[in-house]
Symmetry: C2
Subunit: 139 residues, 2 copies
């Protein structure tokens, strides 16, 4: 099967300009072109794009994905590195979740006050103005 860029977009849910962007960034390899210079992808291109999309959905950076793609093209290389990239990303993710949970806690506190009056005495605004009112260890 041969796919146009639009077909690829439809099948993967990745938008057309994004596919071209991935090509520019070296994630997608430049495909063959039709006589009229339009991109023509094979099954291989479809699989590569699925890989990229999946990794992006998991929050991996373009740079990380480039590493993984390079690794996957050298099957003799040790798997260790791929594992490390994923593990490093998991750590980042867990740190981010922890931080967001702290923020959630403070926002809940801030929005929990009684705010029926005027801005002059607004709990939300006072809480933001005075960091000392909060638990203090975010950021």
């Amino acid at each position: 099967m041969i796919y146009s860029i639009g077909e690829l977009a439809r099948r993967t849910g990745v938008k057309i300009p994004t596919i071209r962007y991935y090509e520019q960034m070296g994630l997608m390899e430049p495909p063959e072109r039709s006589s009229g210079n339009q991109r023509r992808y094979t099954q291989h291109g479809l699989e590569r794009l699925s890989f990229i999309r999946h990794a992006r959905q998991l929050g991996l950076s373009i740079e990380d994905i480039r590493e993984l793609v390079d690794l996957s093209q050298r099957p003799e290389r040790p798997c260790h590195e791929a594992h490390q990239i994923a593990a490093r990303h998991l750590e980042n993710l867990q740190a981010r979740i922890a931080k967001l949970k702290k923020l959630e806690k403070e926002l809940k506190r801030i929005t929990g006050g009684s705010d029926t009056g005027q801005v002059g005495a607004c709990h939300v605004i006072r809480a933001l103005a005075d960091h000392s009112l909060c638990d203090g260890d975010h950021g």
Copy 2:
């Protein structure tokens, strides 16, 4: 007290170019200048910057903060709007946390496999290539 931009930066932990950026974005009001055109801030400027920093740490957008700043300058306005901004942000945050937790789960699964061999049979890479291997509802 009068502060230079550097003093303000030191006291709030916000970098100098960032303070100027906030001025450009309309969050900080343009301060008085010295005879040699350098910014001179008052206590008011320091407080405003603390407010902004705190809100940014909570993940509020520049746009949201601009609204809050505008509100806080009109003490007769109802507090309701400020409350809504914070509440809306809390919802976003909770959605983000939920999503990241899903990703965490899948990344844990991916990195949990035995990956001592070569890339050719790497679990990490296979899992990324084949979305059908995962629980499927992320993204």
